[in-house]
Point group: C2
Chain length 326, copies 2
């Protein structure tokens, strides 16, 4: 089977590619080729048991989606997106990539006769906007408070309609905040949720811009990859017309995140977190969901961690080679 990954150079895309290269199959079928696409050159995984092609272009450019689908990939992972902070700062770019790029991809699939690939679309909990109930259930309405969230919510609606019409076989998954993100900080306003774990474990100071009672839901990059693979192989008939699912995660306060860090890495590491309140980030975070009752996804077999301790241990294992800067 052939795979196409859009947004393959991103953190989740890269980890997904590595995981697929390690296992060599998807849903019991051997992978024969993976096409990796992004705006910057994606990394080719080492020792992949399948052919890989890398492509670099703007997915929203005319004709680009058609070119990417030339090999009629069996599974498409659509992870490409302008992140929330940038989509908020650059209105037109966010709509061009996140809305038009997604729609052009869906339309390119629609344009191919007799072709109905499984298309996994990464949506986001940014589709929800405050005020919220204590836990957001699967029937809660989408009232995004960012342009990014709006673009993702529109992508979900298109995915469901194109699937209902038989143009593609879509599954949308709303990722919780992915934590701990490895590597350098990005422009996302949610960056500090990872930063306060990642930087201290590397011997660096980290900035905490919000109060410690801020509650948020997290899943590890390893879980995110697990969600994607499960979404790619799930029996679509179990979903019916409601193709978009809130993924499970671990709901904790920032204080609980820090407690977990202290338990795992000690007081010296936890002491590397500096409190520097940032009104802008606080205001953005205020509008974010805190807890989900992701019952449908759990019933469909999507699994996340059981504790934030586990999330930290996965970061140390997967991204730090098993050690940290005590």
């Amino acid at each position: 089977m052939e795979i196409l990954i859009l947004g393959a150079a991103g953190m989740v895309g890269r980890k997904l590619t590595e995981r697929l290269a390690r296992q060599g199959h998807l849903g019991g079928r051997a992978i024969t080729r993976a096409t990796l696409h992004d705006v910057v050159e994606p990394q080719v995984p080492e020792n992949a048991p399948f052919a890989t092609t890398t492509l670099t272009s703007d997915v929203s450019a005319a004709g680009e989606a058609e070119r990417l689908l030339a090999g009629r990939p069996d599974v498409i992972f659509h992870l490409a997106a302008i992140v929330s902070g940038e989509a908020e700062a650059d209105f037109e770019k966010g709509y061009r990539i996140n809305l038009d790029g997604t729609r052009r991809l869906f339309d390119a699939v629609r344009g191919l006769d007799g072709y109905t690939p499984r298309l996994v679309f990464t949506s986001s909990i940014a589709v929800f906007g405050a005020p919220f109930p204590d836990a957001i259930d699967d029937a809660f309405f989408l009232t995004p408070l960012t342009s990014y969230g709006t673009q993702k919510a529109i992508g979900e609606l298109l995915l469901a309609d194109y699937t209902r019409r038989g143009f593609l076989d879509g599954v949308g998954i709303r990722l919780p905040t992915i934590c701990v993100r490895p590597g350098k900080p990005n422009k996302a306003a949610s960056g500090f949720f990872s930063g306060i774990i990642r930087e201290p474990l590397s011997g660096q100071d980290a900035i905490l811009p919000v109060p410690e009672d801020v509650r948020h839901t997290h899943a590890s990059p390893r879980s995110a990859v697990g969600f994607l693979i499960h979404a790619a192989t799930l029996d679509g008939s179990r979903l019916g017309p409601r193709r978009n699912l809130t993924m499970p995660g671990v709901s904790v306060t920032v204080a609980e995140q820090i407690d977990a860090l202290r338990r795992i890495a000690g007081e010296r590491v936890a002491a590397r977190i500096r409190r520097e309140p940032d009104e802008t980030i606080m205001r953005i975070v205020e509008g974010w969901p805190r807890r989900f009752d992701a019952r449908r996804a759990r019933e469909l077999g999507f699994q996340a961690e059981d504790s934030f301790d586990e999330i930290i241990r996965i970061h140390i294992e997967d991204d730090l080679g098993g050690t940290f800067a005590a």
Copy 2:
């Protein structure tokens, strides 16, 4: 103040225009000009106390929205849409008019500096898709089961984001089924809800294709116009970022509709309804919402009828000149 009505040739657009011509003002401000737009020539109301301009074009064509906004209207009523049956039959046309047309209009408003008009967008209860709770509350999620409903749901999301960004001052209203629709019967699956009242009152037989225990929510054309005017004049700060509202209506069974007809027009009129069960229509109607808890709209002052009797009386008064074929 200047008004722009898109979709002015439709039933609701025409009744809105007539009402504005009668009252001459909107929210206490005298109307100086109304621009009436549609794909077919809109009717100019008689004796309007303001200047009227009619325009005929495709609202989704490049540059068209900019042309319509040249006079910087203070209030825009965006009623233009491809209806559900046609949007389902012609996928591309539905998306072009209902999604691209709406987005181009919003973008044209955004392109004008220092211009933030009140924009009233008619959405639809087609944004909801079965299964439903007994009554759909204001936080129930949008899972449209038609392309039309998808396009309306996307319009709502864009309206909210463009409003949040300060590009326009939008209010979206989800109209229930409008009953009694004047004019000739049509082939819409929902047509019988009006037909079983309208035809008997005109001395014609009407066909009832569903069982009498089918429940549905209705509002009169007069209420629909009332919703639009209230949405145009409502203090936007009372809405916050959730700019889209389910409108109130009268939730009745078909049996209750017929009882009301009998009370108002007598047994001879009610006897003109012929039961001819239609499996296809029954299955379509099964997927429609039956009842809404439109609390937010009511709290914000939107008003519908209190009974189906009132809906019938309004039809007789507004569309039949006060009489009917006993």
